[in-house]
Symmetry: C2
Subunit: 239 residues, 2 copies
DNA sequence: GCCATTAACATTGGATCCAATGAGAGGGGA
DNA sequence: TCCCCTCTCATTGGATCCAATGTTAATGGC
């Protein structure tokens, strides 16, 4: 199975489009945990998986390295970065400020329909995480959560802001955050209500409140994630 | 001169280090205006200039493309991006928020020595821009200005924050901003006093004031830059 | 039996190759 | 004279090549 010419159907793109596509797909596999933290990424293997040569794969890996998701050691190959707790806290502090700005800017621009969309996304997220099957629940939760946050960012009307936020997000595997919320009912409820409070502020047209609630929410999420990595590093290499 | 094997002495680096080095040098040439906005970047030419093959050059170009400094058209080559005024405004709004956060965070951490360093940098910047020779003045001004801003960012103690700020800055050629301040005495004085106000707030230990002054300063700089590009695009292709 | 040295192997990374695409010049027809 | 077609040339971009480096396992000495 592994030596099939093309495991994944890559539409015949070329140049930047191909490289971006490869980077995206590799990123996804890391984000969802299909490729776990600390795992090695061999160029030849990825190349044959995607049915291309090593050249575009290398360029894709460089891109992921620049974003910080993987580390490339000279002549040794690439591994998925193991996030340091302090780095997670720093990154989430930046993200918190950016998303707070996005929320504040979204207030005068948001429509009733969009508020409804956000409400639906939040409810779906809650339902998914209260569901039974852990793995698809994680997946769906992550998707709903992404919709909630990226929608607010896009409503802000500042494309640079959206990009800056996603640049930071793309730095850490996300399945972990979802896992936390799905598995822990207290986290689940807190998360739901934090989103509700943000939504309320948006509906009320209170920019200051929206920004503050968003900032607090993101900082909290970052703290949870950092704690998880702390725990992980103390229980080293235990299944 | 152009066909010399290696115009620039590239220390024999390899892998990511080499690619980053190339990206850095190409970026610098664009930033300083040595390679002007809209100019074509031919891989073969760059490769022979740096004494390497096209392979690492292509990876470097991809990196610059990801950051938005250049645009790569399929099978057509790379050109230095021509910033759109609205994009400049958006980017500087994000940068303003990030630098405001940095200034606020720097307040409880800054030392007397560092305040003195900032004062010196600001004074040097003013002296340089009040000097005679426009081109070196631009260069020196840019350097002093960079020191002022990056020092505050680094004092914030958040490496991610510093990176996020420089990521945005690396998106636009900077010689333009320097040119504006150097050539226009009103801009020059305003710029100097804005820096002074930020410094005062830092010295006073007033985080809120530091953040507000920094935000305002950056927004203003962005507005000036955006205006310049607006003017430029209306007087198309005129020497 | 344990450690060091070395030799084979796996993998990376720059250089080169060639097909594909696009731009521009030159020629032919209206 | 102007337009369009085609041929050629320049340039990009994926594939392949080979040298360099790191890793691992086996062998030999102690």
């Amino acid at each position: 199975m592994t030596s099939e010419p093309a495991e994944t159907a890559v539409t015949r793109k070329t140049g930047a489009a191909l490289v971006d596509d490869l980077a995206e797909q590799i990123r996804d596999r890391i984000m969802t945990g299909a490729i776990p933290i600390g795992a090695q990424l061999r160029q030849a293997e990825l190349a044959s998986n995607f049915g291309v040569s090593r050249t575009p794969v290398r360029e894709a890996l460089r891109q992921l390295q620049t974003s910080g998701l993987i580390e490339v050691l000279p002549n040794k190959g690439a591994v998925v970065s193991v996030p340091a707790p302090w780095d997670v806290r720093e990154a989430y502090e930046v993200r918190a400020e950016l998303e707070a700005l996005a929320a504040a800017r979204a207030v005068p621009r948001i429509t009733r329909d969009q508020i409804e969309q956000l409400r639906v996304a939040n409810q779906e997220m809650y339902d998914h995480s209260a569901g039974r099957h852990p793995v698809p629940a994680q997946h769906d939760h992550r998707r709903s959560n992404d919709i909630f946050h990226t929608l607010i960012a896009s409503i802000s009307g500042n494309a640079r802001l959206s990009k800056a936020i996603s640049d930071i997000n793309e730095t850490f595997p996300r399945n972990v955050s979802a896992q936390l919320v799905v598995n822990d009912s207290r986290h689940r409820d807190e998360n739901f209500h934090e989103h509700e409070r943000i939504l309320q502020a948006l509906a009320d047209g209170d920019a200051q409140q929206a920004a503050d609630q968003m900032r607090e929410h993101v900082i909290k999420a970052g703290e949870q994630l950092a704690r998880w990595y702390e725990l992980r590093s103390s229980t080293v290499f235990r299944g």
